[in-house]
Amino acid sequence: MNLLREELSWITPELCLTLFACVALLVDLFVQKGRESVMVGFFSLMGLLATAFFLYRQYGVTPPAQPVFGCMVVDPFSTLFKLFAVGALAFVVLFTMLSRQTRPDGYGEFYFILLCAGLGAFFLASTYNLLLMYLGLELLSIASYILAGYAKGNRRSGEAAMKYVIFGAVASGVMLYGFTLLYGMTGSIDLTVIGPKLRDQFALDHGTIPISVATGLCLAGFAYKISAAPFHFWTPDVYEGAPTPVTTFLAVASKGAGFAALLRFLQAGFIPDRTLGGPEAMMGYSDKLGTLVAVLAALTMTLGNLAALGQTNLKRMLAYSSIAHAGYVLMGVATMNREGFSSVLFYLVVYYFMNLGAFGVVMYYANTTGDEQIDDLKGLGWRSPLVAITMVAFLVALVGLPPTAGFIGKWFLFTAAVKKGFLWLAVVAGINSAISLFYYFRVARAMWLRPEEEAKYATVHASPAFAALLLVLAVGTVWFGVGFDSLLRYCDYSQNLLR
């Protein structure tokens, strides 16, 4: 009994989130019509706050990696990603409360499904168990399918949901098949057992074909979740068609959780402990896997950036930009070492601020004008300076220029790649950053370099709440470009404890 209580206490954040998801569903029944969005949203925010509090208490856990029920693990790595997910959810809830795009009725279910998706991200970030990883992925995915199609009667939203569900179900099915092959080869579904077993198999030198097939199938599932090439085709349509708060969730929280699971998967299963010295075959395989990821990274960022150049819709442009950013982050994954992985964590946090901000501006703009075209932003800078200034900060960070966090994040990714010997990859990424300057600059030009008279819409005032949100995100974007020490140390620390 005591043991049970002890173990349960480690998953308080998950329990808290589950509880408040149910509360959100119930509150919806008792609130008068028309006020659901605010009231249920308020309870969801309370729940996220409580969850964040429990997570904060686990911040400096001792012992550093606490197993729970033999299938979850609480360590700084998972805590970082859970805080990341909670923060993203909080912004998505706030965006939803301020948005007019989501349908007027049925908000209780919306927040319920959103919190459930967050729970899926929690499990995905904190498990070595293939079963729980699959469950977390499906919980996140199924909830996301529903959210993408939430704007009932909206044809674009319906199309987005259909494309998402078809693509997602196939990708997760393929990944499940890969998991079963791993299980067959090692007799275990625990990655911490699978790793050493694979090492033994490499030592026996049976050849790497079966392992390659299994890994390849698993990687397909992860690539879909983080929208990396060649599994990125769903991204532009889904991001454009889904309601903007949902797009924000998909671009930030869902992608972050996908990266968390990918890092754990690679770290536990496929990175030999170099100090102990694994069999030669495994070292070689790990390097080959790294090279494969590097090629995918180059492909992803190039495809994303080239497609983004021709876009006229702001949301669709940001969708392609988020594909390109998945490519940059994969550059850190490709190094298959600690330094690369901690630069991945750092960049994801930075990405969180700048993308939430950029999508926030899109939502605000679409909300007030019903328009998402880049050219129609003309003169916005003169009419709504606050929104336009924060947008410029996010754009500068997305390009990766100093003094923003985007620069520092990219710097770490580039150095990690170069140190590992992927000089060509760093060059490709550099060229890509230069390309991205063009399409991000187009937005800034439309906002600022056109005379005020050309503005298509009259002044669109941001509500104080919304202005505050944008300011917080903009300050974060710039702050981590200067005071990044503590964050970097935490990213590195959480890597130490991943074996």
Partner: protein, 99 residues
């Protein structure tokens, strides 16, 4: 029959499922393909559980069957919605968002 037989059947099912989804004739057709992929994985799990090790595989298979049902429910609801909006269940027909 040994392990290999089960694996071969599962691999054939998997290939058929992929073929179904790639053909993209009709969304229902695609959803059936997805079921085939998931069932190929289930067959693998149960066979490995019998011949390689432990009950893990069977537990995994039970979870995966339940998830497949949940996924199918959501997918069918979405397809129904799309049919209402576009009067078509060909996956290529809704294309409002092309550049």
């Amino acid at each position: 029959m040994g392990l290999a037989g089960y694996l071969i059947v599962a691999a054939i099912l998997f290939a058929l499922g992929i073929a179904c989804t790639v053909a993209r004739k009709n969304v229902i057709y695609v959803l059936m393909g997805i079921e085939l992929i998931l069932n190929a994985a289930n067959l693998n799990l149960v066979a490995f559980s019998r011949f390689v090790g432990g009950l893990d595989g069977q537990i995994f298979a039970i979870f995966s069957i339940i998830l497949a049902a949940a996924e199918a429910a959501v997918a069918l609801a979405i397809v129904l919605n799309v049919f209402g909006l576009f009067d078509s269940i060909r996956p290529d027909d809704p294309d409002l968002m092309k550049e």
